[in-house]
């Protein structure tokens, strides 16, 4: 068994690696321009020139490690140079790739774009050149050859030469004129990027002294998650204990009184609870039980959120003790939903077990219904019960999202929601690791418990 547990733990490492890799690939496929988003949304900032804007963009992109290829090696068509990653902003880089794809003229396109950048930097602080500036910006935006040539011709026709920029403008126009579609084979080229790639940048930050930082506030992503984890753990663990105790007891009670009015009443209530969406139950509980809205007698629970612990530093246990009463209502909400499901499934399994031959045989031996239930039916139904419970561990972590949001509890679920809304991927990745690990540990605990409680499964589980 020890070897089995060790093997399962070792298997977690490649599994987490795969989860992270796929998450990274998905993020890489996103067309979101994080830097532009950060710059555009930073309030009413004014950029005195195009150069100031690109400087700001480059500084932020470098800080985020974005001016690098995605992986340790890249496969590109031969007409796309390795240095393409250095071109900013991302939208402009995509435009260049389009042009390269169309013309396959690497030297011509890149030279022209370099001169265009220089021209934009020269022109932008000068309001006298505004007409030319907007025409050059339009030229820079053109990402196919026909449009590029059309816009270049328009400039050529309307442009009045001035001494300061005429040479630069003419150079660009000549370069555009010389651009042609080159024919030939498109060969793939493999470039090895060494350690200068985004995946390495990201992974190395995960284990180095310079950790992955949240894009929102620059604090270490791991610290944010660990700080939030304590609240989620408190909620999830308490919920799990309540579900574990009450679901089995209710199922036992229902099977024992199968078909009686109390059994039917409990079944009806459990169905109703399971059918109601969690967010609705939670919102109703907040509105009814934490305010005087429907009379002071309904205001029986403390308010939502956690206590303001102003002043000294509190330990985790102190914080938990101070907030215990505030956590009760959210725990209750999380419990009732899962409780309904697990009780229902366990009851069904117990009824099914009661039809099995070994139970019939025991009944024939003269065991009374209570003895049958405790000695034969319940242990048999434990397989389902334990499997369901272990599966709940991960879902409680993610299921706490709604509860944490509604009850304003600063746990992992709320952090995940906030981070996803802000595209704060470093934090989302760390949460992903925790949820993956929680899922695997949940199932591992389930398997170990099954082996202990139900020796018949030990062989199936461990001799593989």
């Amino acid at each position: 068994m020890f070897r089995y547990v060790l093997r399962r733990i070792l298997l977690m490492i490649p599994t987490i690696g795969l989860v992270l890799f796929f998450a990274f690939v998905l993020q890489s496929l996103s067309r979101d321009d994080e830097v532009s988003r950060l710059i555009e949304l930073e309030g009413n900032q004014i950029y005195s020139s195009y150069g100031a804007y690109t400087d700001a963009y480059r500084l932020k992109a470098e800080q985020l490690g974005l001016l690098q290829p995605n992986f340790y090696f890249s496969i590109r068509p031969s007409y796309v140079p390795k240095e393409i990653e250095q071109w900013i902003p991302i939208r402009r880089k995509r435009g260049i790739i389009h042009l390269l794809k169309e013309t396959r003229d690497q030297k011509g396109v890149l030279e022209m774009k370099r001169n265009l950048s220089q021209l934009l930097i020269t022109l932008s602080p000068n309001p006298q050149e505004r007409t030319l500036m907007s025409a050059i910006k339009e030229l820079d935006d053109a990402n196919n050859l026909d449009l590029l040539k059309l816009r270049a011709r328009k400039i050529e026709d309307s442009y009045v030469e001035s001494s300061s920029t005429s040479r630069q403008v003419n150079v660009v126009l000549d370069q555009i004129d010389a651009l042609e579609v080159k024919k030939g084979w498109i060969l793939p080229r493999i470039d090895f990027n060494g350690r200068k790639n985004r995946l390495h940048f990201w992974l190395s930050r995960g284990i180095s002294s310079e950790p992955n930082l949240s894009l929102v506030d620059g604090s270490p992503a791991m610290d944010k998650v660990i700080s939030a984890l304590k609240w989620t753990f408190a909620l999830s663990f308490s919920t799990l204990v309540i579900i574990a105790i009450f679901s089995i007891l209710l199922a036992y009670y229902q099977v024992k009184h199968d078909g009686q009015w109390l059994d039917r009443l409990i079944s009806l209530k459990l169905y109703a609870l399971y059918a109601m969406p969690l967010f609705w139950i939670a919102t109703m509980m907040v509105v009814f039980f934490t305010t005087d809205e429907y009379g002071s007698w309904t205001n029986i629970f403390p308010s939502v959120g956690v206590e303001l612990m102003i002043g000294q530093e509190y330990s985790f246990w102190d914080q938990l003790a101070l907030n215990a009463k505030r956590l009760l209502l959210p725990i209750l909400c999380m419990s009732v939903h899962s409780l309904a499901y697990i009780t229902k499934q366990t009851k069904m399994e117990m009824i099914e077990s009661s039809q099995k031959p070994f139970v019939q045989a025991a009944r024939a031996r003269g065991l009374n219904p209570g003895q049958l239930l405790r000695r034969h039916i319940m242990p048999d139904a434990m397989v389902v019960y334990v499997t369901l419970l272990s599966g709940r561990i991960a879902s409680l972590f993610t299921g706490s999202l709604i509860i944490e949001y509604i009850f304003n509890i600063p746990g992992v679920g709320k952090l995940m929601l906030d981070s996803m809304e802000a595209s704060d991927w470093p934090v989302v990745f760390v949460i992903l690791i925790f949820v993956s690990v929680a899922t695997m540990i949940g199932y591992l605990i389930g398997d170990i418990l099954l082996a202990k409680l139900y020796p018949r499964t030990r062989k199936e589980l461990f001799v593989t």
């Binding site: 930073e42 309030g43 804007y53 935006d141 105790i245 305010t291 959120g305 009760l328 709320k414």
Partner: protein, 588 residues
């Protein structure tokens, strides 16, 4: 037997827990004198003012940091804060900076940092150097400070200093005055910055800096770190950061023996409550619950529908301990029209769309009347507003006529107008980008109704605001978009939003408005060598020309709707964020 026992014990333990928790937890009145709890919707990113210009961050750090001068929340006039008097521009007649503009300033004698050190010109110079540091991400500041040449400190009195400017930008003085000042001794204990001049720092690259001045380079990284944004935060304001509990709350504490107490007439330097607690509550229902439970004292109903505000006011029980206020804001809601779009290139089409927009209905249905109609980029309550501009009223017939005259007619009977453009029949269906907010949805619903009546189609797409900006507004891939623009308390610099050079990357002229005369007015407004009367005239002319061109559809400016504990007297202002917690007082 055992399960029954377990069930019994389980129920009993649960009942005990239930009983313990079953108590309402209203705060006792005794604590009310000490602190005020204000709800904020989201956590600030940083309390390091140079690194951010987000209003959510400023809402908190403005009590910790103060600047040389600032706009008074009550009078909305520029007042001296750290300095004795507001400076006026003078031209240097001799020496190194001969011919340049200069501002001479003197810091108040009483102004001191927490350690007792006087605030000096050295701190001002350090602040400007940090803003110019190539490794510090302060893009907005770098552009604004581009014209500032140098700072010289009087060798006989370190409180006196002179700032030299080389540009002719009309807001230069305001930029200098409103920069939050940092204590050099706290942020640069080793005085590394003294090894490099401001001029050199402005022109040096990050790589060169690392080679030539490694300590200065390292300081840039430290300064930008989370440590100086969340933990070690110090300014000259009336409050200091006491605690930042991530995801929960931020506590500011009033400084003891604060030097600003000697200036009771200066609102910015006042501290009313001993502590200001900013509680982070994202969900509106939760915030309302906390307000009703007396867990928070001040709530801004910015995100809630007006009905919630009205219902709470009418609910006698819930509102028994609350006062309600509305306050005009400088937020302008508008619909951006892409002036480069082939469908919206013509002024008459844009004018027709403005006539199809029933702004009065929007104001009443979306804001419950809590707002003010606008027809200019300058708020009607500001003195530079051109009061001669007309409001465009909803007029379906006139709009139809304008569209007919522009050649947009339904030729194929599909109830959508169309027109031949460059040899192709183009239907008048407009790509309209909105966010998922209820305000956007309501604007869309109202527009759809009137546009349909005029046979104009809307192709609506709901996207996050950041995506609308980066993927549609910046590249110009849109016809219409809902947009909120907050204008500053100061004079507005129209260059970034209305000048044709601000179209595309780096600019905020998302509507792609281009008018040579408007450009000339903007350039005149930005000049330093004109009188304030002349500037006001250009502002009014610019407003007129923009109003006539209809580059955007101006909607309304919503009011700030707030509820506050009735024991507290609030200080509300047109200045952002609309309230000033340091001016809140307990009622007599």
């Amino acid at each position: 037997m055992i399960p029954r026992l377990l069930l019994g014990w389980g129920c009993m333990i649960f009942a005990i827990c239930f009983a313990i928790s079953c108590q309402s937890d209203r705060r006792s009145d005794s604590g009310m004198q000490e602190e005020i709890v204000i709800r904020i919707e989201s956590e600030p990113r940083t309390l390091n003012p140079i690194l951010t210009s987000r209003s959510q961050d400023r809402e908190i750090h403005e009590y910790i940091f103060v600047s040389l001068g600032d706009y008074d929340p009550v009078s909305l006039e520029m007042i001296p804060v750290l300095i004795k008097n507001l400076p006026s521009v003078m031209t240097v007649e001799s020496g190194e900076y001969s011919g340049r503009d200069a501002y001479s300033m003197e810091i108040k004698e009483e102004a001191r940092w927490e350690n007792g050190n006087p605030i000096s010109g050295e701190d001002v110079l350090f602040t400007l150097k940090m803003a110019a540091h190539p490794d510090v991400f302060t893009p907005g500041w770098k552009s604004l400070l581009a014209d500032i040449r140098d700072v010289t400190i009087d060798p006989t009195d370190e409180r006196r200093f002179m700032i030299y400017s080389e540009g002719e930008y009309f807001l230069n003085l305001e930029v200098i005055l409103t920069a939050e000042i940092y204590p050099r001794y706290f942020y640069d204990a080793q005085n590394a910055m003294s090894s490099i001049s401001l001029t050199e720092l402005k022109s040096i690259s990050s790589q060169e800096l690392e080679q030539k001045y490694p300590e200065v380079s390292a300081l840039g990284k430290t300064f930008s770190s989370v440590k100086f944004g969340k933990e070690m935060v110090m300014g000259a304001g009336p409050y200091k950061l006491r605690q930042w509990q991530s995801g929960q709350y931020i506590v500011l504490e009033k400084k003891e023996n604060y030097w600003g107490n000697t200036y009771p007439e200066n609102t910015i330097l006042q501290g009313g409550f001993q502590r200001i607690v900013f509680q982070i509550v994202k969900d509106e229902t939760v915030a309302l619950t906390l307000l009703k439970n007396d867990q928070i004292d001040f709530l801004n109903f910015k995100r809630s529908p007006f009905m919630v505000f009205d219902e709470l006011q009418n609910d006698q029980q819930a509102s028994a301990d609350l006062d309600f206020y509305t306050q005009a804001t400088l937020r302008n809601n508008m619909i951006l029209l892409n002036n480069h779009s082939p469908k919206l290139k013509e002024k008459s089409v844009r004018q027709a769309l403005a006539m199809l927009t029933d702004v009065n209905r929007m104001l009443s249905q979306i804001e419950g009347g809590y707002g003010l109609r606008i027809n200019s980029f300058i708020h009607p309550k500001k003195h530079l507003y051109n009061s001669e501009l007309e409001m465009i009223d909803y007029d379906l017939d006139k709009a139809k006529k304008l569209l007919d005259e522009s050649g947009w007619i339904d030729t194929d009977g599909d109830q959508i107008r169309d027109k031949m453009i460059d040899g192709v029949v183009v239907p008048l269906v407009l790509d309209f980008y909105i966010t998922s907010s209820s305000t956007s949805a309501s604007i869309l619903a109202i527009l759809q109704q009137s546009f349909r009546a005029a046979q104009v189609g809307i192709n609506a797409a709901v996207l996050p605001f950041s995506k609308i900006i980066t993927e549609h507004l910046v590249p110009g891939d849109f016809d219409m978009s809902v947009y909120v623009r907050a204008s500053p308390t100061s004079k507005v610099d129209p260059y970034a939003v209305w000048h044709s050079s601000s179209i595309g990357l780096g600019g905020k002229n998302y509507q792609r408005y281009s008018n040579l005369i408007a450009d000339q007015y903007i350039e005149q407004i930005r000049r330093l060598d004109i009188t304030e009367e002349e500037r006001a005239m250009y502002y009014k002319k610019l407003q007129r020309i923009i109003s006539d061109d209809h580059p955007v559809i101006f909607l309304y400016s919503p009011f700030l709707r707030t509820a506050i504990d009735d024991d507290i007297e609030p200080l509300l202002s047109l200045k952002r964020p609309g309230y000033f917690a340091n001016g809140f007082k307990m009622r007599e």
